[in-house]
Symmetry: C2
Subunit: 337 residues, 2 copies
């Protein structure tokens, strides 16, 4: 086998933007590992992003996320739209990778060239999951996918941050889920545009629908932009044709919400909010690198830790001291000139 030629960021960007799926996978790995080239590459591909329909899907394990996504992919493909899926899985902080194989989860579409699927671990990213996921969405946008579905378990601040990248947010529930889900709902409902009650053929589905509707009637889910969330019962799993229910209605509801965003100009606000979040994530990350690198090289960190453990100092005072030196020290240096 010939050795892989080292490509310039320009060459890589060109291949990615022209629809090279293997290049997309490679660039995503570079983003996840924070390779040195990734900054230049992201600048090059950025103008080719921002046009996809980004759908967020969150729900606990066992709610049927993969099956539902599989159905949605099928519907989008029928309309000849290309699809990207980013699945955030719980994983080892050490392995860095996702545990469930992409191909196993979405078997039917794994050989379809119009579908690009990528799993991400929920831990172990240098700049945090949200920063990594934000880059990955941009990369799949640059690849040219029309629709991107971002799947998370919806637990923890970092996953909520990931969710913010989505324009249309789906919350997936099932009848008879436990207290944890009820608790989670309270937080997620505030960002969900469509609430999907999957496995709606199970016992308790009717009662669950009524309770969800009652919650929405109190206006608890209403969005600032005027969108009133809808509840959609589905049965995503099923071998025979008649068993699967509600997918068409869900598909239409997603398109309706996208239409609403475009007509109400809420889409512009969403894009601005996304850029703002992106700026914040990149900023934080780069700053940390600069300051931590500064501290590390000097060996002062070890001295500080020893002083704190010996009771001669505390971390709050140490941080104050270092920051004062770093910022105010430089200011006064300027003033004295």
């Amino acid at each position: 086998m010939a050795a892989r030629r080292t490509l310039s960021p320009e060459e890589m960007a060109e291949r990615l933007v022209s629809g090279d799926r293997r290049m997309a996978a490679r660039v995503i790995t570079m983003a996840e590992n924070r390779s040195e080239k990734i900054g230049d590459l992201m600048k090059l591909i950025y103008p080719h992003t921002g046009k996809a329909m980004v759908i967020g899907l969150t729900g606990a394990g066992g709610s049927g996320k993969s099956t539902l996504i599989d159905r949605l992919i099928g519907r989008f493909r029928q309309r000849d739209m290309t699809v990207g899926v980013i699945a955030v899985d719980p994983s080892s902080p050490f392995s860095g990778g996702a545990i469930l194989g992409d191909r196993i989860r979405f078997q039917k579409h794994s050989i379809d060239d119009g579908v690009f699927i990528r799993s991400m671990g929920s831990r172990g990213y240098l700049g945090g999951l949200a920063r990594a996921a934000s880059d990955v969405v941009r990369i799949i946008e640059a690849l040219g996918q029309d629709v991107i579905i971002v799947e998370t378990l919806g637990a923890g601040q970092d996953e909520v941050d990931v969710f913010h990248v989505a324009q249309t947010c789906l919350l997936l529930l099932t009848p008879g889920m436990g207290d944890d889900i009820q608790a989670m709902k309270a937080g997620i409902m505030e960002i969900a545009h469509l609430i999907v009650l999957n496995k709606a053929d199970l016992d308790g589905a009717e009662a669950c629908l009524r309770s969800l509707e009652a919650t929405l009637h109190m206006g608890l889910g209403d969005k600032q932009d005027g969108w009133i969330p809808r509840i959609l019962p589905t049965v995503a799993a099923g071998v025979r044709e008649g068993q699967v229910q509600g997918i068409e209605e869900l598909f239409e509801a997603i398109l309706a919400h996208q239409m609403y965003l475009r007509e109400s100009r809420a889409m512009d606000q969403l894009q601005a909010a996304r850029v703002e979040q992106e700026l914040g994530l990149i900023f934080k990350d780069e700053l940390e690198k600069i300051v931590f690198a500064g501290l590390k090289g000097t060996g002062r960190k070890r001295d500080y830790i020893e002083a704190i453990m010996a009771g001669r100092n505390d971390p709050y005072s140490v941080v104050e001291e270092v920051l004062r030196e770093f910022f105010i020290g430089r200011n006064s240096g300027e003033r004295s000139s």
Copy 2:
């Protein structure tokens, strides 16, 4: 009712350290809300911290965390040790508070003066959950509790960060849990010292124990400090005496691990790692405040967002530009003097 007198940080610290539980609750709220005084307060109480036995307990919803903690509290109280519990609950990013009431969860011990219980939401903290939780553990240590139990669901990077504060880490599993739990296990097993199989009277417990033991036999859970994780079956729930099982063995195993830490001097390394993490969390948080404040005031942020949305710029270049100005600009300012 008389108005609450404004206390100085010195007065508050004194009351907290002398065991005033109401003051502890108040200081925790200040830490969670990042009140202005909290920095000074934390500096004052810091020398009174670092002596507690800190136990982490993680497990999915329904694994019986609260019941098990209830049993453990009972055992520690029998030995006349005071206990603090920090329970991290999924919650609304908006309400900020925890959903399940502390008193409801640990009814038996809620009126015991030797037990201090606090719930924290898993989202909505300005500097992140890990930063807030780190402060809360220090505050409960300053209150003088001998043992602190930190309970989390174990999902997401922020909860894993919280877990790092613990010296003895317990992973709670139950027989027959789904794929999500299996996946989670892979990540958490690497940091768990004791693996508790709760509800060990259920079907499938034997098979589950065997599979866990096989995993450990491969050395997958072994720690760098030489500790080999143990598996302990328990039945924490039960009204009659004979129904509850394995609590005594678990209690002894916790004490044995603590003894191991002290004798192997691994405790010193743990304390150093905790201080290092703390430094990092405080650092990051304070840095963000400085830079975001700087950007916000100028109205430049809006200009940048507009330029990015119009395709005239991208977030990666913007961050580079601002940072260059912030750091290199100041350096060259100094140099020119």
